[in-house]
Symmetry: C2
Subunit: 358 residues, 2 copies
């Protein structure tokens, strides 16, 4: 199964996103922050959460639901925690601010929680977790969203596909990192099956009676996503809703507005949460890095299953893709290119690599 | 599918466990702590992790791998973290000590991490997470174990079925809580299928070639457990290994010894980790409790899927079982009763409800 792709260099893609955000009134610094989150995500190959989302943000920036000049700020704090109010700044701007606050707090006390309110869709959780790993710390990032996921026994959406990510610094190896939705798959993946006109596995969606369906076209109007591993994904989504939505004072569940479908003049009021542990305060950082490297190498050397090419570490495929993206460019799927073409048209921007609208 | 059960009152079960641990030299207080963890777990209906495990602990206490008179202590600490050395005390004694340390730390700073080394199997992670919820805090608990779980692409065990639990305090409702293995199912569940002589679903086990198998008898010698949801369960297990095993300075992966099969004179060197957030420092606790209650009630009222009796909250089934256990007694499965009968025989104890060995 292959979708058509367009090869673009990281710098060309960045230039387009920077230009679009500049047109919307973002400062150079905020545009740079947002661009780095989105393009890094594409470089990792996570196209459902990269620059494809830009059009939705632009629409909301122009509609007033996102504010180009808003500054996130710490609304309240203690030694090992803070609550950040995003004041409807772009989700990436608020989330980077909040993760930096968590890193600073963790540096002082060893561990910190930072909750976020009045944010928006924050893209890929993994980016923020990796900020901590770059600082030699263990990071976690999570966010809530408008419900689109049913849970065992329910026929309607109950929770968002609340994402969770963590990252662990290594020594010579790449950081370990994981970035997952609490649904079996992200909604964007169902849309890919729509584009391919293929049935989905029966563990992805339930229909309006709450029964499994393989028809991708029912989603999202007449089908809900399913959590991964039944009650396990449901339980993890509830934890995220609590830490990102309830504890932070953000909107929760249906209080969150859709960053895609709802009126662009509305603030979506997403919540988020960031946790950081400062490894070096707890154990000698070099020893920790060596132990992580050893664990990575041992796991990689595990005898392979019949037919398997290798045993990957969490995040390893993404690092490989990113290295390739930096040298060879990013092969953007057609749906992403279409979306970016729409952004360019809306804002009167051009880029040779975008080609003509099909 | 039903196994034979024996009905026993909570107090009768507690009396047997107390007597057994007393015979092994535990102090009254340590025996009480251990008993409460194990019997609470049975009362929740999680029989794979309750008093069934007692026989393994008794064997190790008598063999010297666990020390009845060891005192866990804080080996190092900072404002929002501590490392606890269990000195080979019973896993429950060390884990309760560590969770209490995390609660105390969180009370001072808002959030805390406590890592544990030189512990043993700690039973059900949920018990410790609930200690935090009882104190009005959000708690998480996790532990590593000897590898028994393959990961995508591997034909051999790579990680333990590393458990994760969290609990959230509510107001008038029971705390939300989740307690899961990072495998699709716990090994104990495969043993139940052995007892029932039934095939297991093809998402539970891989054989020695790393391919799915439905034969429960291959486990554990010639089959490995699979993580839940493929790379998602694998990634969560790695996070737990890092926080519980590597950061804490405990043994990791194959460095951990089997609390069931390995020489009982050996210390198993399990690691664990506990995270606590003190809700009341971050947001008014009453407001938080009301928001959690509202979320619980809204989710419970979600229209039900066709054929579903109700929509359960994470932990709700366990609370129901526990209430029933307290009034009607616990219906212990035959494998648990057999195991306890073995303990009684080994230690020269009697209990009328145990009946004769079959």
């Amino acid at each position: 199964m292959e979708l058509q792709t367009t090869l673009v260099s990281v710098s060309d893609l960045e230039a387009l996103v920077m230009a679009a955000l500049g047109k919307c009134g973002l400062s150079e610094a905020d545009a740079r922050t947002t661009t780095d989150v989105l393009v890094s995500t594409d470089a990792f190959g996570v196209f459902t959460h990269g620059t494809k989302a830009l059009r939705g943000y632009v629409r909301r920036l122009r509609g007033g639901g996102l504010k180009a000049d808003a500054r996130p700020e710490i609304a309240s704090e203690g030694p090992a925690w803070a609550i950040v109010d995003g004041h409807s700044a772009v989700g990436m701007v608020t989330s980077v601010f909040a993760m930096n606050a968590a890193i600073t707090k963790a540096k002082a006390t060893g561990m910190a929680y930072v909750g976020v309110r009045n944010s928006c869709h924050f893209g890929a959780a993994g980016y923020y977790a990796l900020m901590a790993a770059k600082a030699g710390m263990i990071g976690m990032a999570m966010a809530n969203d408008i419900p689109s996921m049913a849970v065992p026994g329910a026929r309607q959406p109950v929770l968002g596909t609340n994402p969770f990510a963590y990252a662990v610094p290594a020594g010579q190896e790449d950081p370990i990192f994981l970035d997952i939705a609490s649904s079996a798959v992200a909604g964007g993946k169902v849309r890919i099956y729509q584009a391919l006109n293929q049935k989905v596995p029966d563990t992805w969606l339930v229909d309006q009676e709450g029964l499994p369906t393989t028809d991708p076209w029912l989603y999202p109007q007449s089908a809900s996503l399913m959590p991964f591993a039944g009650h396990k994904g449901y339980g993890i989504a509830m934890m995220i809703e609590t830490l990102a939505g309830v504890l932070s004072g953000a909107a929760a569940r249906w209080g969150v507005k859709s960053w895609i479908d709802d009126d662009p003049s509305w603030a979506t009021q997403h919540g988020a949460a960031f946790l950081v542990i400062d490894v070096g305060q707890i154990t000698p950082i070099q020893l920790f890095r060596e132990r992580v490297d050893a664990m990575i190498r041992e796991i990689r050397a595990t005898p392979k299953a019949k037919g398997a090419e290798r045993v990957y570490l969490p995040g390893e495929m993404e690092w490989q893709r990113r290295r390739e993206a930096r040298t060879k460019g990013i092969a953007l799927p057609a749906d992403v290119v279409d979306s970016l073409r729409g952004v360019a048209e809306d804002l009167g921007l051009t880029a040779a690599w975008l080609g003509d609208r099909t």
